[in-house]
């Protein structure tokens, strides 16, 4: 199968989208950018390839013989979970090794001896809880190893601290230091081996006989052996300049976001993208071509990172912030322009006895107000209006935006938000790559990425 790749190297997350020759989205992957940019791209790319394989597995599985097709297909979600579980367990093992190795080198290894058994116990607990974490329909905060392992690790450390009176900080610090290396190691895993292990795990669990299990294994073999030819790719996003890509393969993120959003919602005329470190307001025409834009960057005020910082201040997860703010009774006016000052203001207001929910509501509003003025500057909000980027996962942000749009542009504006909103930039990139493919000037992936492509 021939396909094209779009990669959006964001400041916070890196996204990859794979399209087939017909322009259908066949795979997508996401990872956190919080490590080496190139590694992030490779991981996102790898994730996208995996999702292609899963899609294939579903297709091939459904065509299995002897009437097993439907049942094999129904097993695919379980295989996905099993695959994640395998990766996760593998990651935990690696984490243990890395922590041990780092403690040997660390400058600040106070009481290494006392830490090591604790780390072992924490990770053992994490392993124990892992299957439940990946059970079908289990709610998960995130799919990133960093977040999952982090949560499990912190929970374990808290438990030890509470029960045995152990020092919490050094334990967590050990994790913080190790995680980056573990994330980088993840790339070196052979994806098809892990996938096969996952398939076998699911197959083993099939009590009622061999045909389904066998069909699943066969389907997996088939899906994995189909060749994938990635013939064109385009990189975009915040960090695109740092990538070892040829100049022709790099597109402005503005163009990509506009085009991607327009592809999903063809009625789109205005796009708002709020990512981790920048906010963009983009106007597109009927073809998805950008006609105007405004962006602000280089300051964390008014971007996704602002919310992240506030969440840290409150010891909350990012995903908890919005729902909490939704419970506000009133909106406190937040004066601080700077993220750090807003954090201080938050503390001050809490000390004054104001409700956390109400302050949070005000903080959300202050971000959206900035976005509104950027939108206004780019040419206003025109129907239809598509909201993309990580922050659109935040329900309070969406609510405030909706209110502000109605207030300022009337209630005729249709607001689009798609579950895949975060992929718009990568999708736009992939569409440009498809242009290249069709114009017969495909640009090949860097050779260093061949390992990923082999999956």
């Amino acid at each position: 199968m021939k396909c094209v790749v779009g990669i959006d190297l964001g400041s916070t997350t890196t996204k990859a989208v794979i399209l087939d020759e017909q322009g259908e989205m066949v795979g997508r992957g996401i990872t956190n950018s919080r490590s080496n940019y190139e590694v992030a791209c490779q991981v996102a790319h790898q994730e996208a390839l995996i999702s292609v394989r899963f899609a294939m597995l579903e297709r091939v599985g459904a065509a299995s013989e002897n009437g097993t097709g439907e049942r094999v297909k129904a097993l695919v979600p379980a295989v996905k979970s099993a695959y994640r579980l395998e990766l996760y367990l593998h990651g935990l093992d690696d984490l243990e090794q890395v922590i041990a190795a780092q403690m040997g080198r660390s400058l600040l290894n106070r009481g290494r001896a006392s830490l090591e058994p604790s780390v072992k116990r924490i990770l053992a607990m994490a392993r124990e809880n892992a299957p439940a974490l990946f059970a079908a329909n289990a709610p998960r905060r995130s799919d990133f190893f960093r977040d999952l392992a982090g949560a499990a690790y912190v929970a374990g450390a808290e438990k030890l601290a509470k029960e045995n009176g152990e020092e919490f900080e050094p334990l967590v610090a050990a994790y913080d230091r190790a995680i980056l290396e573990v994330e980088t190691h993840a790339l070196q895993q052979d994806i098809s081996t892990v996938l096969k292990r996952a398939v076998n795990r699911v197959a083993r669990e099939q009590k009622d006989g061999e045909p389904v299990a066998l069909a699943l294994v066969r389907a997996a073999d088939q899906a994995l052996s189909q060749p994938l030819h990635e013939v064109a790719f385009v990189g975009t996003g915040y960090g695109r300049q740092t990538l070892p890509f040829p100049r022709e393969a790099v597109r402005s993120e503005i163009l990509c976001h506009g085009r991607g959003a327009h592809r999903i919602f063809p009625g789109t005329r205005t796009v708002l993208d709020i990512g981790g470190q920048d906010t963009k307001a983009i106007q597109v025409d009927g073809h998805g071509v950008v006609t105007g834009f405004q962006m602000n960057d280089r300051c964390a005020a008014g971007c996704g990172r602002y919310l992240g910082y506030i969440a840290d201040e409150l010891n909350l997860g990012l995903h908890e912030l919005g729902p909490l703010a939704l419970q506000a009774n009133t909106m406190v006016k937040v004066n601080s322009t700077c993220t750090v000052f807003a954090g201080a203001e938050l503390r001050e207001r809490l000390a004054l006895g104001q409700r956390r929910e109400d302050i949070l509501a005000g903080l959300h509003r202050s971000i959206m107000l900035r976005a509104m003025s950027l939108l206004a500057r780019s040419g206003g909000v025109n129907n239809e209006f598509t909201f993309t980027g990580g922050v659109c996962n935040n329900p309070m942000a969406v609510k405030v935006l909706r209110e502000l749009v109605v207030q300022n542009y009337g209630d005729k504006i249709h607001l689009n938000i798609h579950p895949d909103s975060i992929y718009m930039g990568a999708l736009g990139g992939a569409l440009f790559a498809l242009d290249d493919l069709r114009a017969d000037k495909p640009s090949l992936l860097p050779t260093t990425w061949a390992a990923g492509a082999a999956a």
Binding site: S252, I254, L255, D285, G286, G288, V289, V290, T291
Partner: protein, 433 residues
């Protein structure tokens, strides 16, 4: 570079060099005269570009100094940053016009002009204040430094989009009753109307040629760049040379060069030589950035974008809508000149003019360079952007920089925007790809 283009190019360069070399020489001469002004017993007048009374000054045998031109020169020679900091150290805010600060900083550092020769202090500050309130403050500040006479010419704003008889009368009365008498007193001689008329006639000849050069951009490819190249073309007429024989010669030569390029089907000269292929035709509103002038220019020229017309080149006179200095009506035409500069147009008129340029010169797009310094230009530019897009259907681009403050030229950022804009034009042209 292939051999064939090399020959054409070097020939072109030689030709271009002729007018440019002439201009350089003219400027050098002028600064030499200024350096010798005291010895020669010549009186020196500081004045501004928009609405300058060059013919009056030369008719009274005085020498003009244009602080704005000095500031932009300092910008191009990468000295403005230090000058601005000097002014800020003396208490000036970072928010205000950087031309003013650059000039004050230069003054505080010894008033060494762009040719490294010292500039003489003014014998008169001629505040002909057209289209910008900052001019008024600027000379209030200079007066504090020089304690020399000032004479102000209040030029009313064309708020209604036209020059009314009342405005003309007010300006003429000020010229007659205040400006000329003060100038005569400083010059130590009476104004000879005949001499003034001669200068006005020379102005007119030069102006005719300049308009032809501007309008040559209607050709495809355009033989000139009406913005980056354009600032060179308007140099003599903006400043000290209007009304002199030198300017007439310069424009004659420039016009010949231009016509020659048209006949050969050549594009404009750029910092990298003759532009090989005209891919985009743009109109630009707003002054250029001087600190990174060539970087800025290359962002366009390397992508094949020619600026076919611009409004900045009209701040020293809006000749292409018909105005000429007129020896038969000396006072009236001086008044009309001051009242008619681009900076004195109200916003609706500015939009009309830009619309006309976009249509007349068949532009693919237009770009606004909004400079932080200049409220006179910048306030309302976002409305200009919207209105022009609406009226012409041609997409506009918007970038922000500054005149001479290097801190406000974010190269990567501007480049990103320019590239996105040009990619957008390209995508539009390909019909939605």
């Amino acid at each position: 570079m292939t051999t064939t283009t090399t020959t054409v190019k070097s020939e072109k360069e030689a030709q271009k060099d002729r007018s440019q070399a002439r201009q350089k020489e003219m400027i050098a001469n002028h600064f030499k005269k200024l350096a010798r002004a005291k010895e020669d017993g010549k009186k020196v007048v500081y004045t501004f570009v928009p609405g300058n009374l060059a013919e009056l000054i030369s008719a009274l045998d005085m020498l003009p100094v244009l602080p704005e031109i000095n500031a932009l020169q300092s910008g191009m020679r990468k000295r403005s940053g230090a000058f601005i900091q000097e002014a800020e150290k003396a208490g000036h805010s970072e928010d205000v016009c950087t031309y003013v600060k650059c000039d004050l900083g230069m003054l505080k550092k010894g008033n060494i002009g762009p040719t490294d020769e010292p500039l003489p202090p003014p014998d008169l500050l001629l505040l002909s204040y057209t289209g910008c309130f900052t001019f008024m403050k600027w000379f209030e500040l200079l007066r504090e430094e020089y304690k020399c006479p000032v004479v102000m010419l209040h030029v009313p704003y064309q708020a209604g989009g036209e020059i009314t008889q009342e405005m003309r009368d007010y300006v003429v009365a000020q010229l007659r009753d205040e400006v000329i008498p003060v100038m005569e007193k400083v010059a130590g001689k009476k104004l000879d109307m005949k001499v003034l008329q001669q200068h006005l006639a020379l102005s007119r000849t030069a102006e005719d040629a300049l308009v032809q050069v501007w309008e040559s951009a209607r050709h495809r490819p355009s033989p000139i760049d009406g913005y980056f190249g354009g600032v060179y073309y308007v140099g003599p007429i903006f400043s000290s040379f209007r009304g002199g024989q030198d300017a007439v010669e310069y424009y004659k030569e420039l016009l010949e060069e231009t016509n020659d390029r048209i006949s050969k089907g050549l594009g404009p000269m750029t910092p990298d030589g003759v532009m090989p292929k005209e891919k985009y035709r743009l109109v630009v509103e707003g002054p250029p950035n001087w600190t990174n002038f060539y970087d800025f220019w290359r962002m366009f020229s390397r992508e094949g974008a020619t600026i076919v017309s611009s409004t900045y080149t009209r701040v020293g006179g809006l000749y292409d809508t018909g105005f000429r200095h007129d020896p038969d009506k000396p006072m009236e035409s001086l008044a009309d000149y001051c009242l008619g500069c681009y900076t004195n147009l109200n916003l609706p008129s500015r939009i009309d003019l830009l619309e006309k340029y976009i249509k007349d010169y068949q532009a693919d797009g237009f770009l606004i360079n909004s400079v932080k310094s200049c409220n006179s230009f910048s306030v309302g530019q976002l409305l200009i952007l919207r209105q022009l897009e609406e009226r012409t259907g041609v997409p506009g681009g918007f970038i922000e920089s500054d005149l001479v403050d290097p801190r406000y030229f974010g190269k990567a950022n501007i480049e990103n925007r320019v590239q996105s804009y040009l990619q957008m034009l390209e995508a539009r042209r390909n019909g939605g790809r």
